[in-house]
């Protein structure tokens, strides 16, 4: 290790500087660990008793220090021998970029095929399919929000409002008027899109932080209205008995006139509905993805991306920003509406509880972690945010800690998201230029 001081951001990579860094880390870890881990309160009868857990606490602090040293060494390695390994690195990156670029469609199709086969797998218990369904709902919401945030660059913190509109549309139309799921599904999309336009108009002139605040407010308004308009929405009690979907008129119940298992001549199984719901959301999500991929190649989709990049340039090119923004809000909201009505029919129950800001935050985190505008990134991030917490259930109280650590890790290693590299919608003369392309741009500067 040389003693030359190389500035890396604010930190220096000389030995004394590193020692100071590690010391600071120890102090911070100690300050945090005393209340979080060192002291533990348990209720004994009606009183609270305080225990201490010093050995555990020092073990955790030790782990933090080891991690910090590893991080510093990693950074040193990354910064110093840049010259020697730059060439090799560029080669690897080029390979990765080319491979990813060429095969992304293949990976997508393979992923979809695996998803379609999942319920037939021997390990696919009811629990697995259920989790996969939840996962796909978030993927679909992520893809929908990706239109607004990822492509059009409009930061929307109230996306869950449209999800709620979709869910309540179906719940109310089916319980009050007795309309079937298949009629309500498109209607839910239309209602949500209408709300998207309603939100879109007042925020046309806003950008960035200001837009975020207004959309946040909008999301809350919808939730508060759902909670308090008791005559219409049944308020905080929610709407129960929302009809389950049927397979073209054949229900998934045990008895009754037209049932699914009678249609196929097989024995009744409660698994059928779960699997049917799974396929339904798979198709809906697939539709969302297909639609977005198509849109990216059409003028409107292009205009979304152009608007994200530079609004003034858009105007000078004859793009009407009003229409572009409204279409992004409307279409993004529409998919949330579809997902919402699916949610309602799956749960059989809707209440304002399900549409808190936390949901918006998770969906937004999926889009940002995945890499704004990347369809594949949304899938990976949804996996990280929905499936990982499930796996971490074994870790009990450390579940959320691990979840948070995973999020921090992704952002440290991949600041632009898991798939932060925007794929061009068109490549000319693939073979010759792909290499040229990757070589000329090691990584996008964002």
């Amino acid at each position: 290790m040389s003693e030359t001081k190389i500035k890396v951001g604010a930190a220096e990579t000389s030995l004394p500087a590193m020692a100071k860094d590690v010391l600071m880390t120890a102090v911070i870890a100690l300050v945090l660990a005393v209340p979080f881990i060192g002291l533990k309160s348990d209720s004994v009868g009606t009183a609270l008793e305080l225990y201490t857990r010093w050995p555990e606490m020092f073990a955790i602090i030790g782990a933090v220090l080891v991690g910090r040293v590893a991080f510093l060494l990693l950074r040193l390695r990354r910064d110093q021998p840049r010259a020697q390994s730059a060439q090799k690195r560029a080669g690897v990156k080029e390979l990765a970029a080319n491979w990813g670029g060429k095969h992304i469609v293949l990976i997508g199709v393979a992923g979809f095929a695996c998803a379609a086969l999942l319920p037939m797998m021997p390990f696919a218990s009811r629990y697995t399919v259920d989790i996969a369904t939840t996962f796909l709902i978030y993927v679909m919401l992520g893809w929908g929000l990706n239109i607004v945030v990822g492509l059009a660059g409009l930061l929307d913190l109230g996306y869950v409002a449209f999800y709620a509109v979709g869910a309540y549309s179906y719940a109310l139309l089916s319980t009050e008027l007795g309309w079937s799921f298949w009629v309500c599904l498109p209607l839910a999309g239309v209602f949500a899109a209408a709300f998207g336009v309603m939100l879109g108009f007042p925020v046309l002139r806003l950008r960035g932080d200001y837009l975020a605040i207004v959309t946040l407010g909008f999301g809350e308004i919808i939730r508060v209205v759902l909670t308090n308009w008791v005559d219409f929405t049944k308020g905080p009690n929610g709407i129960s008995g929302v009809p389950r979907p049927s397979f073209f008129g054949y229900s998934f119940s045990r008895g009754g006139e037209q049932t699914f298992h009678d249609l196929l001549g097989i024995a009744y199984s409660s698994q059928h509905r779960v699997v049917f719901l799974y396929f339904l959301i798979l198709i809906l999500a697939g539709l969302t993805n297909w639609f977005t991929l198509r849109m990216r190649k059409l003028p409107t989709g292009r205009a979304w991306e152009a608007l994200r990049e530079d609004e003034i340039a858009c105007r000078s090119l004859g793009i009407n920003p009003t229409n572009v923004k409204l279409s992004a809000f409307a279409l993004g909201a529409m998919f949330a509406g579809f997902a919402g009505s699916f949610f309602a029919t799956r749960q059989g129950f809707v209440s304002p509880e399900s549409f808190t800001f936390m949901e918006s935050a998770i969906i937004l985190a999926i889009v940002v972690l995945g890499g704004m505008g990347s369809q594949m990134g949304v899938v990976l991030a949804a996996f990280a945010l929905v499936i990982l917490p499930e796996w971490f259930r074994d870790f009990q109280q450390y579940r959320m800690f691990l979840f948070g650590a995973a999020m921090v890790l992704i952002m440290v290693l991949k600041p632009t998201g898991v798939m932060g590299r925007r794929e061009p919608t068109i490549r000319l003369h693939k073979k010759k230029d792909a290499a040229e392309d990757a070589e000329a741009q090691p990584e996008i500067a964002q």
Partner: protein
């Protein structure tokens, strides 16, 4: 072709343009020179209706376009390469050019892009590269090429020489001349008075929101006052 009559434009209370008259005839290259903050870019933006002028009017081919929204002005055959280039950094060169073709019906896209690639062979070499990774000169070429994709009859250029090396500036100006020879009228806003006046048929000089001088490019170039204010020591 384009007539600007008594235009006053304000930013809030500040009067940026204090009654500007200017006209551009078909087939000309007209340049507007002036120091920083003189109001040159404001004038160009006013033609595009953003900001709107408070007084006066902008007439294009006999049609009053004051207050016509920017996105419709492009459809009338005026294209703009905005100040600071403003290309789409994450889009490829090809996609950037496609964006420029949006106002057209797309039926002549192949020919149009051929024409742009002929003007800027560098862009063709780099067509799959992201805009943000181009050099400054290439980005400027892309900005002009993108504006040309809408097949304009009048091209507004805002400081194409901004931040470019002298050699590249000369290249860009050569290309502007070529574009003009193809029959496109050019309105050039520049700080690089020397190159701009040498190229232009006519020039206007703007100081603090007012046109102070006008005349053929060569004449202005020879004018001692202009030499003193904009040219001496600059090159």
């Amino acid at each position: 072709m384009l007539k600007i009559e008594g235009v006053h434009t304000f930013y809030g209370q500040i009067e940026a343009l204090k009654g500007v008259d200017l006209h551009i005839k078909q087939g000309e290259i007209v340049t507007l020179i002036g120091a920083n903050g003189a109001g040159k870019s404001t004038l160009l933006m006013t033609v595009f209706g953003n900001p709107k002028c408070r007084q006066g009017r902008v007439v294009y081919e006999g049609q009053d376009i004051t207050g016509v929204p920017a996105h419709e002005i492009v459809r009338l055959g005026i294209a703009q390469s905005p100040e600071g280039r403003r290309i789409f950094p994450r889009m490829t060169v090809y996609e950037n050019l496609q964006m420029g073709a949006l106002p057209t019906d797309g039926s002549t896209f192949e020919e149009d892009i051929r024409e742009v690639f002929d003007l800027f062979p560098r862009l063709e070499e780099r067509r799959n590269q992201r805009g943000g990774t181009l050099s400054g000169g290439e980005q400027q070429m892309l900005a002009i090429g993108r504006a040309m994709m809408s097949k304009p009859r009048l091209l507004l250029l805002d400081e194409p020489s901004l931040g470019l090396a002298p050699l590249v500036v000369r290249q860009i100006f050569d290309i502007i001349k070529k574009i003009n020879e193809k029959g496109v009228t050019v309105f050039l806003v520049e700080q690089n008075a020397f190159h701009a006046l040498k190229l232009a048929h006519r020039g206007y000089v703007m100081v603090n929101g007012v046109i102070t001088m006008t005349g053929p490019g060569q004449e202005l170039l020879a004018n001692p006052e202009i030499r003193a204010a904009y040219l001496e020591g600059g090159h």
